[in-house]
């Protein structure tokens, strides 16, 4: 029987999920991806204390794979770009999960650190292959094949033709595309006749180029992309009616990025809404704020 590898549907899965699945499939493993986030995922992840909601959700997804797989793929992704980091919480995830949950299947917690040397990725790929008893050539080949798939496994944005408003929804993909923890914000906005643009609609090179407007480059890779994309949308010719920054409580990088975005939005005269979610966020309060914001934008446009 083939080895079963479980991948939690959380965090960087929303960027690289397709590539990871293809990689393990080519290595001859059965890939099991955990289901959509549910209330019970969040409850199981709650064993991890104080960290941000997406990290708790990731721990919850890892738990849900228990009993279904032989290995859980939970890499320690330190850095994916020269001079940049993911974030301390993402880096610590495998250590925290191993420490808090004792009876999980073994973790594939290979370190990926391309901060100083981009070829370090192949060391990690070969190390993963070794866990599945594949030799270096086979793993490298499988990776090169899989990596041809596009990153950004996120769903396409739906644009309703009669959109009245154009709002940028900026937030980590693992937050805004997770329908449970984002309170399904994209579908809601679209249903209200809002055209939603996310950071995914800006290509990484443009986003990275736009961050030159900042005095100092942001050293968290994903926040750097979000900021660059948000700035590119603000500076683009197509007008933006409003900007929503969706973040989770206890996200360290976002706490400083939100202030940077607020500053730029104010200088562009673009209304800015900061929405913070955690496991205690109530749907009613969240929706009320969202409604009030879009109503306000509608009146602003009409006036």
């Amino acid at each position: 029987m083939a080895v079963r590898v479980g991948i939690p549907r959380s965090l960087l899965y929303y960027y690289y999920g397709d590539i990871w699945r293809e990689f393990f499939r080519r290595l001859g493993a059965d890939v099991v991806v955990s289901g959509e986030t549910s209330q019970s995922t969040i409850e199981q992840g709650g064993l991890v204390d104080e960290v941000c909601l997406p990290l708790k959700v990731a721990a919850g997804h890892a738990c849900e794979l228990k009993g279904k797989v032989d290995y859980i793929f939970l890499p320690r992704i330190v850095s994916l770009a020269a001079g940049q980091y993911t974030c301390p919480q993402i880096i610590g995830l495998p250590d925290v999960v191993r420490s808090c949950y004792r009876k999980l299947p073994p973790l594939i917690d290979v370190t990926v650190n391309q901060r100083r040397n981009s070829f370090d990725l192949y060391r990690s790929v070969i190390a993963i292959g070794r866990v599945l008893k594949k030799n270096a050539a086979a793993s490298t080949f499988a990776w090169l094949q899989a990596a041809r798939l596009p990153a950004n496994a996120a769903p396409l944005e739906q644009v309703s033709p009669a959109a009245q408003l154009r709002i940028a929804l900026i937030g980590h993909p693992y937050l805004i595309y997770d329908r449970q923890i984002s309170m399904d914000v994209i579908r809601r906005l679209t249903a209200w006749g809002v055209e939603v643009v996310t950071a995914n609609s800006v290509d990484p090179l443009t986003a990275d180029y736009t961050t030159r407007r900042l005095a100092k480059k942001i050293f968290w890779q994903f926040c750097n992309h979000l900021t660059g994309a948000a700035l590119a949308l603000m500076y683009s010719l197509q007008p933006l009616d409003g900007l929503i920054f969706l973040t989770s409580f206890a996200c360290g990088p976002d706490s400083l990025v939100s202030e940077t975005l607020r500053w730029h939005a104010r200088h562009h005269d673009i209304p800015f809404l900061l929405l913070t979610v955690d496991e205690h966020t109530a749907e009613a309060g969240f929706v009320t704020r969202l409604e009030a914001f879009t109503d306000m934008l509608g009146r602003r446009d009409g006036g």
Partner: protein, 359 residues
């Protein structure tokens, strides 16, 4: 040019000596008070961590006192500290507080350029002497801190230890040369040994680990070290400012070796890349557990990313090193009463544990 800098415990003594030695006019921000924190909290992003808010409060008060250049540190991640200055600059200029920022990044190039910008016209000898005197004061302050922690639970009158410590730090602050620094420490020692001690007590020994700012700034940690001392607990910090400087800036061989040993102790539990001092918190918990300490208090600012990771792993480390760990998070809402209740309960637990072990 009047320069200022953020507070961190008694680090202002060192910074003042250093910058004055470079021939700069220095405005030390007023001591951290409730008002400092309120100013910082009012203007900082709500979710920013405590050091961000306190630094911001320091800057505002320093600019009000006439400072026009702020010297602060940068960083290359992944801890938030590295991006503080960028956001603080924007917040201050939007509120009409105008000051130049000199952000010292952790690279030789940046240190060099900042030095040339700040100390224009100073000779190399002057610069060298300024650094040497500042370094000497740093060592002296650490000695005073460690001895105070040792004597506090043993003294019949705890307050007199605190008073002597304050006086000695003030003497170090005004010392103009090596001899005066040495004299200040010597006179502190003499007065300390003249105090009435109770040598029969064997106080509980607790090690402090965690995030550097909250550990070193008494206002941020509600004067934890002194309060533990008054509970009859000896609270020692394995890492004081001098230890950080020797390891991370001066690269002293002994300090590097010790640091490597601590990282090795942490290796089974955590990867070394989580940033800040998360790994050291775990390594020192192991080390102090082996060294026969009775307990560990782990301090960090609320939502501090590296320490949150450490906090989730520390229970396991505590079991492995068979040492109880108390984690305390601090933010602008922290109160003394809540902390004291937990500290008293923790001290009771440690005392009970020691009695049980002693039979």
């Amino acid at each position: 040019m009047i320069v200022s800098f953020p507070h961190m415990g008694s680090a202002h003594v060192i910074f003042r000596t250093l910058f004055a030695g470079l021939g700069l006019k220095v405005a030390v921000p007023p001591p951290v008070t409730r008002q400092t924190l309120e100013l910082g909290t009012a203007y900082a992003p709500e979710a920013a961590c405590l050091p961000f808010k306190m630094n911001l409060g320091n800057f505002i008060q320093a600019i009000d006192q006439g400072a026009d250049t702020i010297i602060t540190c940068g960083g290359d991640g992944p801890c938030r500290l590295g991006y503080y200055a960028e956001v603080q600059k924007k917040i201050l200029s939007d509120r009409g507080y105008n000051a130049d920022f000199v952000v010292i990044e952790p690279s030789i190039d940046s240190v060099w350029r900042s030095l040339r910008r700040l100390a224009t016209g100073s000779s190399w000898l002057t610069i060298y002497r300024a650094f040497r005197l500042a370094g000497e004061k740093m060592t002296a302050l650490d000695i005073i801190e460690r001895r105070s922690s040792f004597y506090r639970p043993r003294a019949r009158n705890t307050d007199s230890v605190d008073r002597l410590g304050r006086e000695a730090k003030a003497a170090v602050d005004v010392a103009a040369n090596f001899a005066e620094v040495g004299a200040a420490v010597k006179s502190f020692d003499t007065k300390l040994s003249a105090l009435e001690m109770d040598w029969t007590v064997k106080p509980l020994k607790v090690g402090l680990v965690g995030e550097i700012y909250v550990m070193l700034e008494p206002f941020a940690n509600q004067e934890l070290v002194a309060r533990l001392g008054r509970l009859g607990v000896e609270a020692q910090q394995p890492l004081l400012l001098g230890d950080y400087v020797r390891t991370n800036i001066l690269h002293h061989r002994a300090a590097i070796r010790q640091n490597a040993a601590v990282l090795t102790l942490a290796a089974p539990f955590i990867s070394r890349y989580v940033g800040g001092h998360g790994v050291k918190s775990i390594g020192y918990t192991m080390k102090l557990g082996q060294a026969g300490y009775d307990g560990i208090v782990h301090l960090f600012p609320f939502t501090c990313m590296p320490e949150m990771i450490a906090k989730n792993i520390l229970p396991e480390v505590g079991v492995a090193a068979s040492i109880p760990v108390l984690s305390l998070a601090f933010d602008e809402h922290s109160g003394v009463a809540g902390m004291m209740t937990r500290l008293e309960a923790f001290a009771d637990l440690l005392a009970f544990r020691r009695r049980k072990a002693g039979g």
